[in-house]
């Protein structure tokens, strides 16, 4: 059954959209990430213009993260104070990201930067996750009892000025790294159409030493708020949010995420991280190859003004 997407201006199979939404939703529920980093590339590879794909996936990420954020909030797993700092700085970053997005699109370099961004981001995060999880797998196999790093451990970031007390996270740290993380994730997330959960979680854990019980909830809330703002910014700035496309993906994604979350119980944490790392690396390699291999056609075309605009 074909469905016509009014903003993308093409017709796509409805079951295909709900299907990839569901498959990505399953993985996002399984690994506890937003899934934007898989969905945006999938849409681009299946012919949706990259500007529409990026902008519409931001809407889908809001939906897929909402139910998770709500349930974590009910369990008390959200540090609202910390989330506020991250969201405000994230929205500032998103303004920069959406503006850069428009500039790159006009200059014809949007696809290049999306590919480069995914390659660098997913490549580095995937590699780090893989190394960390393989080490942990090997250690648990050899029977050594591993004690996690202590959350109270100090690093150079604790010497910075403007310290603020985050009660729920039991942290007394400078706001500078918090705002920095927010701005960077806001910028990259709006530029690449990803929620940034897979960068946010390691950043909160390893850089800020946020305790494990509030990391996921805070990160999810931050993703919801920041992606909501990004969706509105994209709708105003580039008018490339396709609500019908986003809705089809949401329906599949929300349903898939529930099944993914139940499958989550059957796998151990380090196994999950190793699998996620492999998935992230696979997407990174796909983008890397598209940059390095000689393309089938070195010529391409682009519409500079939409037909309706004149």
């Amino acid at each position: 059954m074909q469905i016509y997407l009014p903003i993308a201006e093409l017709s796509v199979n409805l079951f295909f959209l709900v299907g990839i939404g569901g498959a990505v939703g399953f993985l996002s529920g399984l690994f506890g990430v937003g899934g934007g980093f898989l969905l945006t590339p999938l849409l681009i590879f299946s012919g949706v213009p990259s500007s529409v794909a990026v902008a519409s996936v931001t809407g889908q990420v809001v939906a897929s993260s909402t139910s998770g954020a709500l349930s974590h909030y009910k369990r008390g797993g959200v540090d609202l104070h910390l989330a506020l700092y991250l969201v405000v700085s994230g929205i500032i970053g998103a303004f920069g990201g959406v503006a850069t997005f428009s500039l790159l699109r006009a200059a014809g370099q949007l696809d290049l930067f999306i590919a480069l961004g995914f390659l660098v981001l997913l490549g580095s995060v995937g590699t780090m996750m893989l190394i960390e999880s393989v080490q942990s797998l090997l250690r648990s196999r050899s029977g050594v009892v591993v004690r996690g790093r202590r959350a109270q451990q100090h690093n150079w970031m604790h010497g910075l000025p403007w310290r603020v007390r985050f009660k729920k996270s039991r942290l007394y740290i400078s706001v500078l790294p918090v705002l920095g993380i927010g701005v960077i994730i806001g910028f990259l997330g709006s530029l690449l159409g990803v929620g940034g959960g897979f960068i946010m979680v390691p950043a909160l854990v390893y850089l800020l030493r946020v305790p494990g019980n509030v990391v996921i909830g805070t990160s999810l809330l931050q993703v919801v708020a920041m992606m909501a703002a990004t969706t509105i910014l994209h709708a105003v700035q580039s008018q490339s949010v396709d609500i019908l496309l986003a809705f089809c993906l949401m329906v599949g994604g929300v349903a898939g995420a529930q099944f993914g979350a139940s499958a989550n119980k059957y796998l151990r944490g380090d196994q999950l991280r190793a699998l996620l790392a492999l998935l992230v690396l696979a997407v990174a390699i796909r983008f890397g190859l598209s940059l390095v291999l000689t393309p089938d056609d070195i010529y391409s075309m682009a519409v500079l003004t939409p037909a309706g605009a004149r």
């Binding site: 994209h234 529930q258 070195i298 010529y299 391409s300 075309m301 500079l304 037909a307």
Partner: protein, 255 residues
């Protein structure tokens, strides 16, 4: 004096036209409005036409053989052709030529090979060939514009927006023809112009312009106009929809 002149002119005109055969074209499109609904998946358009003696001429019938060429042009946009090259080991767009008012759709249907129908000069003057669509861009210069223009036409042809179908027009009799053209689902909405030329012995003996429009209708139209006219409201609506869908999913599956 003026009356004499007029009389001479009228006499001269009648004498002139009586000796020469004159044709006119009567034609019709299967649709003049193509509505894009949520299940829209492209459309086929049929052209019908008949070549008749011109109004006022005394001949009872016209004799061929005729050739018919139909050129359909879609809405224009500014379009860029880009070329990639390898820089620092990666492929990126390095050169670009912009073509202003470039048609988003251009299909030519004809009853015979175009060069058998008429001369290359006539084709060029009338702008019938797909290759004639890119104008020469001043900033890029003639040579580069020509190369990128050819590539742009090739890309448009591969995507199915440009086509030259030299068996596209079928004659049902000596004077009546029919032609069919497909419009894919990603054809740009807007006004499409169909120019029909009737050729005899390589000369244009009759021509006719018709138009049809492709436009979004109902819900699709509402969404597209909201997105461009009330972007802020549209963006907020997307977010509300997303939050509601996410919340509902959580409730249904009791996470």
């Amino acid at each position: 004096m003026n009356a004499w002149r007029l009389l001479v002119a009228v006499l001269g005109w009648t004498l002139f036209t009586a000796g020469v055969q004159a044709e006119r074209l009567v034609s019709q499109l299967s649709d003049d409005l193509i509505e894009i609904t949520s299940s829209y998946d492209g459309e086929r358009i049929t052209f019908f036409g008949n070549i008749e003696p011109d109004a006022g001429s005394e001949q009872p019938y016209v004799t061929g053989p005729y050739n018919v060429v139909i050129a359909v042009t879609g809405p224009s946009t500014d379009r860029a052709a880009r070329r990639m090259s390898r820089q620092f080991g990666i492929w990126l767009n390095t050169e670009q030529v912009t073509y202003e008012d470039f048609p988003s759709f251009f299909k030519v249907l004809s009853s015979d090979a175009l060069l058998d129908v008429t001369s290359a000069t006539t084709l060029a003057v009338e702008g019938i060939l797909p290759e004639a669509q890119p104008d020469i861009s001043d900033e890029a210069g003639w040579w580069k514009s020509s190369i990128f223009g050819t590539e742009l036409v090739r890309l448009m042809t591969e995507r199915g927006f440009f086509e030259l179908n030299e068996q596209g027009v079928q004659f049902l009799s000596n004077t009546a023809y029919t032609a069919e053209m497909s419009l894919s689902s990603d054809a740009v909405p807007g006004v499409y112009l169909a120019q029909t030329y009737v050729f005899k012995d390589g000369e244009i003996v009759a021509r006719r312009a018709e138009s049809f429009s492709v436009r979004k209708t109902g819900f699709e139209r509402y969404l597209a106009t909201s997105a461009s006219n009330q972007p802020l409201f549209y963006g907020i609506a997307c977010v509300v929809l997303a939050v509601f869908t996410g919340w509902l999913g959580g409730v249904i599956f009791k996470r």
